[in-house]
Symmetry: C2
Subunit: 158 residues, 2 copies
């Protein structure tokens, strides 16, 4: 294809030619979550200043509880879930679109019997995620619904 | 919701609180195409350097034949279509992911009985699309398949 345009075909929420890898390095606190970087990584889509990633969380799984200075644009493609956004919890269904603002502590959870899959678009150049501080964790836990849902490294499953 | 995060709920490929407007200003050469800017416009998602838009083309419709220096990241959400990418034509189906490289002349067409709907993500700050030059149009028309599919201002429907 001229000038470097290219098409990635999908089959069963896997994109051909894209590796479905670990969501984060080992040791990070997540569960049953994988990531495919569809576009915006490396030289093959060098014209993009942002990454288009597909994250998938199996039933019962969750992403890291974290915050960072960059924002997320999220569009749900499959399944159902809940997301912690500071002290709020939002239900997620297919095609819901979410803005995660800079500095917002967030964590995605898959609920129901199907995987929760969503596009998560971020700046290519961005800061590293950080864990909430002990004080921030205490504040989150002051809400009983958030306390019941959130998972931290001390809750890690066997 | 704290710190400005927010959720846009979807219903029938319309996002609540998002205007479904014209795809381009009047006089541009498109047909049966609408646009919703989900995130990245204005102050309410100021942390994003890119816009997440949803474009929808009704059966028989098409987007503008154009090129620009910025790239597109596209993820198909519904329907079927074809896209011209310089002198190539690619078939599009739900969840296919497309990189439109800088400078690539492109045009989306809805085929089949359902609307073609896709996310199209672009830099918030970007150059304006331009029409292909007469020489570029001649080059495109030298491919009979492209010539049969492409629509320009001289092909505009009544």
């Amino acid at each position: 294809m001229k000038r470097g345009s290219r098409l990635l075909r999908e089959a069963g929420f896997r994109w051909i030619g894209v590796e479905a890898g670990e969501y984060k390095p080992k040791g990070s606190d997540f569960f049953l979550t994988t990531k495919q970087i569809l576009l915006g990584l490396g030289d093959r889509s060098a014209g993009l200043s942002f990454e288009t990633r597909y994250l998938e969380i199996q039933p019962g799984g969750y992403s890291t509880l974290e915050k960072h200075a960059h924002a997320h644009a999220v569009v749900v493609l499959r399944g159902h879930g809940r997301v912690i956004l500071d002290q709020e919890i939002c239900e997620l269904s297919p095609l819901d679109c979410l803005y995660v603002a800079p500095g917002c502590i967030h964590q995605f959870h898959a609920t129901g019997d199907e995987a929760l899959g969503f596009l998560c678009i971020v700046d290519r150049n961005r800061d590293r995620p950080r864990s909430p501080s002990p004080r921030e964790l205490d504040r989150l836990r002051s809400d009983t619904r958030v306390a019941a849902l959130m998972k931290t490294s001390t809750d890690r499953r066997p």
